[in-house]
């Protein structure tokens, strides 16, 4: 019988707010519960949603009242989350605290407090950060603080892993790459029965058939809307029988609208405005090509969704995007206007020449990305940090080397079976290395946190905290347990 864990997912970002991190947490939690674990979610209170909620599949969500400052990230008060966090953790008998998203203050605080309380912690990074601007420097320092004492880190792509390792000075072996996934059932290509007036091309696309290019993205600078604005007139000029559908909103939409008016393209570019995530598929299946001009992207779930809908993907070669899809589904472009136009031209030519088997994409994507797979791989991380897998197997090196007495300070902080020890002095050692000033500051924070923990143990003793009954756990299917 595989060990099962009580897992708390902590993030500022969760439903009812839509978004990629939110759906990631939800899908992962659901699949982990299917595998017999107990999962709760701790997030901050959204408007009209405070307290404890059960989602339909028994997923329990704690909406903790907290001051929200910017784009639903909470105000960073290092310690004020501790009392209620401790209460929740003890009530739910949590073993593993799993934080998400590096901009979420909740996640960082929870990891710090969980380590103080002697819990295993995992962090999932969903985004890429540079190293140059002031905001990044601050975020990176905070991330270094939190990740100085985390058991394992999960990144959504190899690029993201490199970035996180550099940002937080981590051992690359304690960073796993587990991609996002898509629910392939929600992104099926159009079936003939669904809409008879719009049959999928049973016959090859002729040179005069209309090819529709879909763009779904928030219209921000980061998403490459400037490139899009520059490229659309040229693409439409070069290829007469094409049109665009653009969904999404943002500050750059005014540029797009101006471009449309300037070039009189109202009949060839359709702007849908903001759409809900459920409607994404319905928009996607109206097109043949998905254009993704983003300038930075950790994973790019939307291009997987587009490929799953049977669209040929044209995307810029930035961030983690080149890792996501096989080359027969994508045309890569440099983030330059000229190259984007040529790449789109190549994609249109390939579609017209009928070289791309887009009808097969859905099944292929389905085998590549699934949340079950993500849950299995995440479970392996949990096993590794909790000691269910031996250190040698998990970290890919053997203990003999470690015990060889080479005085490697890197592994000296590791305690039993490859997981980091909870002793305060070991933790302080790890935090101290964060920087000349920051290291001392962080140590101070950790000590205060520890004192707070002792105080809470005295003032609100563990015995006085009710243990809540669990939602009935699902049976683990034996066959799904593969390593």
């Amino acid at each position: 019988m595989a060990p099962t864990y009580n897992i708390a997912m902590v993030s500022d970002f969760f439903y009812p707010q839509p978004g990629g991190v939110e759906s990631h947490i939800y899908q992962l939690s659901t699949k982990l519960m299917d595998r017999g674990h107990k999962v709760i979610i701790i997030t901050h209170a959204y408007e009209g949603r405070t307290g404890v909620r059960y989602l339909t599949n028994g997923l329990k969500v704690y909406h903790v009242p907290f001051l929200v400052i910017f784009r639903s990230a909470t105000f960073p008060t290092v310690f004020s989350f501790f009392p209620i966090f401790r209460n929740i953790v003890l009530r739910e008998r949590i073993d593993i605290v799993h934080g998400h998203a590096s901009l979420s203050n909740f996640c960082h605080e929870a990891i710090l407090h969980a380590r103080t309380m002697g819990l295993r912690t995992v962090f999932t990074d969903h985004s890429l950060f540079g190293f140059a601007d002031a905001a990044s420097i601050l975020t990176n320092k905070l991330l270094k603080f939190t990740l100085s004492d985390v058991d394992h880190v999960i990144c959504v792509s190899h690029t993201c892993k490199e970035n996180t390792v550099l940002r937080a000075s981590l051992d690359p072996l304690m960073v796993s790459v587990i991609p996002n996934a898509v629910v392939a059932e929600n992104f099926k290509p159009l079936s003939p029965s669904e809409n008879p007036s719009y049959p999928p091309p049973a016959r090859p696309l002729g040179p005069h058939d209309i090819i529709t290019i879909v763009v779904i993205s928030r219209l921000f600078y980061n998403k490459g809307t400037d490139l899009l604005t520059a490229a659309i007139p040229r693409i439409l000029e070069n290829h007469p029988n094409t049109r665009f559908i653009i969904a999404g909103s943002g500050p750059k939409s005014i540029d797009l609208e101006q471009m449309i008016e300037q070039n009189v393209l109202q009949d060839r570019v359709e702007m849908l405005g903001p759409i809900r995530h459920e409607e994404v598929r319905d928009v996607m299946v109206r097109g043949h090509i998905y254009l993704h001009p983003s300038l930075t992207e950790a994973f790019g779930t939307v291009i997987v969704e587009a490929a799953s809908c049977g669209l040929y993907v044209v995307c810029t070669q930035v961030g983690g995007i080149p890792e996501v899809l096989p080359s027969h589904m994508t045309v890569f472009a440099k983030p330059e206007e000229d190259d984007l136009v040529t790449a789109t031209g190549r994609a249109i030519a390939a579609l017209r020449a009928n070289k791309v088997r887009t009808e097969l994409f859905h099944e292929q994507v389905k085998t590549m990305y699934s949340w079950e797979n993500v849950a299995v791989r995440t479970e392996r991380v949990y096993n590794g940090i909790c000691g269910a897998i031996s250190e040698g197997e998990f970290y890919g090196y053997c203990e003999g080397e470690n015990a060889g007495g080479n005085g490697n300070s890197w592994s000296a902080t590791r305690g039993r079976s490859g997981v980091q020890s909870f002793a305060l002095i070991d933790r302080l050692k790890r935090y101290y290395g964060c920087g000349i000033w920051a290291g001392k500051l962080f140590c101070l924070c950790v000590i205060v946190d520890y004192l707070l923990f002792l105080f809470l143990e005295l003032w609100f003793p563990r015995e006085r905290i009710d243990v809540c009954p669990d939602w009935p756990r699902k049976k683990v299917r034996k066959d799904s347990r593969r390593e």
Binding site: L173, N222, A298, L325, D338, F394, G396, C398
Partner: protein
């Protein structure tokens, strides 16, 4: 930033297997932590089962499982071998036969770039560049010295403003002479190598290179004369003056001329206006459009002259008229400013009567500090050091001039008589408004002028400080103190310039810029629309 173009191809196309050493912790931790492999003469524990082999050339060895890292799992070697058949790929859609936290040494951080665009400084160019700052600091010091002199009634305010105005007039004459000379030079021998330095600079930076020959050809002699004069005028209007209202003395001259934008519009009817890839800078655009006219043919010259202003639109060779007109308008605006100040002086005199002097000293100190720190040292026009990418004007340059003028206003309000107030304010306009324009122009004109000006300023500032530090004595002129001040000023400025340059060069070794595929790509957009550049 280099786009991460190689990422995908390298992962896909390099079908051959690169030999990479066994995955051990020591090989994946950062380099500083590889402590236990530091001494190659000692055996490490993994030496027992991993033969240390030099890296082999790709393609000459077998691709079987034996070359796979076979080291790590002694317990389940067979399982490991069967699983690690395929090479690690940096892809997410492939079912890898490696654990998720596997770190491949051949590809991990392969796209990391460190300091890709750093260019090391050289000592002497750095010292030469820092003289600009020295000049400005010295002129601020001279202003303070003059104020103290007036305040302590050592110097007659009339003499200060008289000499200052005289120097300004001389500077203006010099500037005017340069301009005329330059116009003639560029009009007369435009194709020659004897083109003045400033012209050469404009041509080099603002014109698409391929048009150079056609423009400077002798057949285009006549229209070129007009257009060059327009170009030079519109470029001078972008001198650092720009900042505030007081500098309209110079800008006044250009008011009858069309703004750069009008130029661009009026020239857009030409069949093939060149696309210049300098977004968001109207100055460069105006010059480029002027060149576009030049490069068309002489038939376009009436178009361009007609846009130039109401005064001289009909004259075919309006060069002398232009200059005369500019001179008249300059004198007009100078007189205007003079009398405005004269009228304002009684008001300024009692402006801060209710404020204590201490507050005024502190306030003027901070204002002058703001002036020094936010001054536009780039010189407005691109110098030979800063490239064409740095031509963007500092957005806070006007803050600098305004702070200086406010400082002079509050300082002037400490003075007891109207004449003193008027003198100091006029002097401050000359020092903070007009002098920087002249300085930057002199720097572009000739290096020798620049050095000469710097030396004069340092001597003046040092001597002035030396003089006002001593007790006022009515009998003798304290030339000894002045001389000592000059010497000390020279020493201090030399040490400061040299020391700061040396320090900056020394700090370069701490530079550690990291670039990689995670950085947001910089899009290259060619056909910028109108609304993008402002």
């Amino acid at each position: 930033m280099a786009p991460p173009s190689g990422l995908h191809q390298s992962a896909i196309s390099s079908g051959f297997e690169k030999p990479f050493p066994a995955l051990v912790r020591s090989s994946t931790v950062p380099a500083s932590l590889k402590s236990h492999r530091a001494d190659p003469s000692h055996l490490a524990p993994e030496d027992a089962y991993t033969p240390i082999s030099p890296p082999r050339q790709p393609g000459i060895f077998d691709t079987g499982a034996d070359t796979r890292p076979r080291h790590i799992r002694r317990n389940d070697t067979s399982r490991s071998r069967s699983r690690r058949r395929k090479r690690f790929q940096k892809l997410l859609w492939v079912k890898q036969s490696y654990p998720d936290n596997y770190t491949d040494q051949a590809t991990f951080l392969e796209n990391l770039q460190r300091n890709p665009r750093v260019q090391p400084y050289d000592f002497w160019p750095l010292v030469a560049d820092s003289t600009v700052i020295l000049q400005h600091v010295c002129s601020v010091i001279i202003f303070i010295v003059c104020f103290v002199g007036i305040f302590q009634e050592r110097v007659s305010p009339v003499s200060v403003v008289g000499w200052g105005s005289f120097a300004t007039f001389l500077g203006w004459l010099l500037w005017d002479w340069w301009m005329t000379q330059e116009d003639q030079t560029s009009a007369g021998e435009s194709g020659d190598m004897t083109r003045s330095m400033r012209d050469g600079r404009i041509y080099r930076e603002y014109r698409p290179p391929r048009r150079q020959d056609s423009t400077s050809g002798p057949s285009l002699h006549q229209p070129l004369a007009h257009n060059i004069s327009t170009a030079s005028i519109s470029s001078t209007s972008n001198l650092p003056s720009a900042a505030s209202s007081t500098t309209n003395l110079l800008q006044y001259q250009h008011r009858p001329h069309p703004t750069p934008h009008q130029h661009a519009d009026s020239n857009s009817q030409n069949p093939a206006p060149p696309k210049l890839l300098t977004p968001g800078h109207s100055h460069s655009r105006s010059v480029s459009s002027v060149h576009s006219v030049t490069s068309q043919n002489s038939a376009n010259s009436p178009t361009s002259t007609s846009t130039r202003g109401p005064i001289h639109d009909s004259a075919p060779d309006s060069l002398p008229n232009t200059r005369a007109y500019l001179r008249v308008s300059t004198i007009k605006s100078a007189i205007l400013i003079y009398f405005t100040l004269l009228g304002l002086s009684p008001i300024l005199k009692s402006l801060t009567r209710s404020t204590s002097s201490d507050s005024i000293w502190a306030m003027s100190f901070w204002l002058l500090a703001i002036n020094i720190f936010f001054f536009d040292y780039s010189g407005g026009t691109p110098s030979h050091i800063s490239g064409p990418h740095k031509t963007k004007k500092m957005p806070v340059a006007s803050l600098s001039t305004n702070a200086a003028l406010m400082a002079s206003t509050v300082l002037a309000s400490r003075l007891p008589s109207t004449g003193q107030v008027f003198s100091l304010t006029l002097f401050s306009i000359e020092v903070f408004g007009l002098f920087p324009v002249f300085r930057s122009y002199a720097r572009h004109k000739s290096w020798r002028y620049h050095v000469l000006l710097t030396v004069l300023l340092v001597l003046g500032a040092g001597g002035g400080v030396g003089i006002i530090l001593g007790e006022p004595s009515a009998t003798t002129w304290p030339w000894k103190r002045g001389l000592a001040g000059m010497v000390i000023g020279c020493l201090i400025s030399a040490v400061a310039i040299g020391g700061c340059s040396w320090w900056l060069i020394g700090m370069q070794k701490y530079k550690n810029e990291i670039y990689g595929p995670w950085d947001p790509a910089r899009p290259i957009i060619i056909s910028r629309r109108h609304w993008d550049d402002d």
